[in-house]
């Protein structure tokens, strides 16, 4: 006897079919279904004060210092002693090559641009720290706790889920990578005579956005990919830093052993340096190698990361 098949018709349990209420809730398919994820993720991240202070302090201090230096240079370009420097302003002006003529102003503006690029490259490290710390647990912790079961029992697609998670990491990338650059540019613009920085070096604004955006995309994708492969945040965090260190060391080693700088493309950080040099029209001289290769390497990192993320997110159904 197969009790399963024979028992099925017998159904005399208490029914509520008569009172079966129709759906009365509001169904509003929003285009911003990822927004609550971003909001909740940022709210939780901002709740932990110590990591916030420790991770944001260096970029904030660097931004303040660079802003002051840029302001000073711009002020000196106009032959003025910057407020707060007092008599030291004159000495500093002489030390920095003096100022006064139109040619000098242009020269100083170029120096300001170079400072901004240097600032970008120096804050990249901090932005990696920020994105790694706040992003490493986003997918790993969901997997560990089974929280994805709550997400996917809601009217939410996997794309929405990933978009929300990406935006959380990217928000910290923007705060650590793009915002400080924009602050310094604003200082340079405000301090330059007759907005001359904007007129002469206005392209720095969109280049900053492009470079910062691309860097944020690369690192965010990488962090999420590692997170999706990890079972807990600490592993993901270690994985991200291990990857950066390993790729950097390998790239340098191979480029020196094989005497071919194109091998530097293996390191996203080296790619970033090369792309910044090219984008901001600077030649630091020691890293003159194939720029399209650097962009391609970044693109490959993003593509590979999202392939992993998508594959792992699909696998989230298997628990």
């Amino acid at each position: 006897m197969n009790p399963g098949t024979e028992a099925a018709p017998a159904n005399r349990a208490e029914m509520h079919g008569g009172a079966w209420r129709p759906w009365s809730g509001e169904r509003r398919p929003s285009r911003l279904r990822a927004a609550p994820i971003v909001r909740a993720g940022l709210r939780i991240a901002l709740r932990k004060k110590l990591p916030l202070v420790l991770l944001f302090l260096p970029p904030v201090v660097a931004t303040i210092i660079f802003s002051f230096v840029v302001y000073t240079v711009a002020a000196l370009a106009q032959g003025m002693a910057p407020a707060g420097l007092g008599g030291a302003g004159g000495a500093m002006g002489q030390a920095m090559g003096g100022a006064g003529g139109a040619g000098d102003i242009v020269k100083q503006l170029v120096r300001v641009r170079e400072m901004i690029v240097g600032f970008h490259l120096s804050t990249d490290f901090f932005s990696v720290l920020l994105m790694a710390w706040f992003g490493a647990g986003l997918l790993a912790d969901d997997r560990k706790s089974g929280a994805h079961l709550l997400y996917f029992a809601r009217p939410l697609t996997r794309f929405d889920y990933l978009l929300g998670k990406f935006c959380i990491v990217a928000a910290f990338g923007v705060l650590g990578s793009i915002l400080p650059g924009l602050v310094i540019i604003s200082v340079a613009v405000a301090a330059s005579p007759d907005w001359s920085f904007l007129q002469q070096e206005g392209s720095v604004v969109w280049k900053t956005l492009l470079f910062g955006g691309a860097w944020t995309l690369v690192v965010s994708s990488l962090v999420l990919a590692v997170s999706s492969l990890s079972t807990r945040k600490s592993y993901a965090l270690a994985g991200v830093f291990a990857w950066f260190m390993f790729s950097g060391a390998t790239a340098l080693l191979l480029s020196r052993l094989l005497k071919d700088r194109d091998w530097l493309a293996l390191s996203p950080v080296q790619c970033g340096v090369r792309i910044a040099e090219d984008l901001f029209d600077m030649r630091l001289g020691v890293r003159d190698w194939n720029t399209p290769l650097a962009w391609t390497a970044w693109g490959l990192v993003v593509a590979l990361s999202w392939t992993i993320i998508w594959w792992r997110t699909r696998r989230l159904e298997v628990v």
Partner: protein, 314 residues
């Protein structure tokens, strides 16, 4: 109450889900009617897999499943009408209980103000409203379970699916949760919950689905399922002042297959003709001056049904 056959809330046909070589569920064909239904089975029977399939968390490897008339996998229309309480911990420890429920309501498309209101109502229903501003990380196991239940009912779903919802609850909370399920059913929602603790189901419904090794073992009312088990005689316990004398008389009765005296002097009678026994017992007991103190069926309960169906040696 109605005895008409309403459209099933869940309809599975040849449903199968495999994890590599491991069978989650296999060839499962079952219709689950509206109302309160218990999903039963031992650990590894496929209960969680089946619930995840019908919650749209898993894609069937084979066959089909419809929930509220539509396939649930990646179907927002179904998810809007379905509440799911997973067995996994699935909580964000840094959120407060209110934020947790509110957040999931926002994901369901609720406006902020309405989400807040509905979250408070849900927390009140699971008696967590006093702890609404406490972080989930500081909750006890039972409180965490109640928070999970709150999120599954907050959007007033038409079908509430709960995977082992009573696990970790203390007796009071367990009682309150069962009462909540009764209320939900009375309000017209369908409640489908899994458990391996049989009396939990019996406290709430007689309508069950039994799974074993990923396959359907039985579905329907417990007594109806029991009636199908003709190969097993019915067992009755009789407490009598003179059990041996009564046993001698009963063994002669038509249909009685065995009579034994269990621990405590309880008489256990096995018969294939229970109606005959019930009819004749008063006269026999009177004639034998046995002095019957208690009489009860030993295998109307789920425990016995489960043992029978599983091929136990009861």
């Amino acid at each position: 109450m109605t005895h008409a056959s309403p459209a099933p809330v869940v309809r599975a046909k040849d449903l199968a889900r495999f994890y590599g070589d491991v069978v989650g569920v296999c060839d499962l064909t079952v219709d689950i009617p509206p109302g309160t239904v218990g999903l039963l089975g031992p650990t590894g029977a496929g209960k969680s897999t089946f619930l995840k399939l019908l919650a749209g968390e898993l894609k069937p490897s084979r066959g089909s499943i419809e929930v509220l008339g539509a396939p649930p996998f990646a179907n927002p229309a179904v998810h809007s009408r379905l509440g799911f309480c997973p067995q996994q911990d699935a909580l964000w420890d840094d959120m407060t209980a209110l934020e947790f429920v509110e957040f999931l309501l926002r994901l369901s498309g609720f406006e902020p103000a309405r989400a807040r209101k509905a979250a408070l109502v849900a927390l009140e229903r699971v008696q967590l409203v006093d702890a609404k501003d406490r972080r989930l990380g500081g909750f006890s196991k039972g409180m965490r379970q109640r928070a999970r239940i709150a999120q599954s009912i907050a959007h007033e779903p038409q079908l509430v699916v709960l995977d082992e919802p009573l696990t970790g609850l203390d007796p009071l909370a367990r009682h309150a949760t069962l009462e909540l399920f009764r209320q939900l059913a009375a309000e017209g929602a369908s409640v489908l919950f899994s458990t391996h603790v049989l009396h939990e189901v019996e406290a709430l419904t007689t309508n069950v689905v039994l799974l074993h090794r990923g396959r359907l073992l039985a579905r329907g009312e417990v007594p109806a399922i029991r009636a199908l088990l003709d190969r097993h005689p019915r067992r009755y316990s009789i407490q009598a002042r003179e059990p041996r004398r009564l046993a001698r008389e009963l063994v002669e009765l038509e249909g009685v297959e065995a009579v034994r005296i269990a621990e405590g002097g309880m008489l256990v009678v096995e018969t294939r003709q229970p109606e005959r026994l019930l009819e004749a017992l008063p006269a026999i007991a009177s004639a034998a001056r046995a002095g019957i103190g208690a009489f009860e069926s030993r295998d109307e309960g789920l425990e016995a049904v489960f043992d029978y169906l599983m091929g136990g040696s009861t």
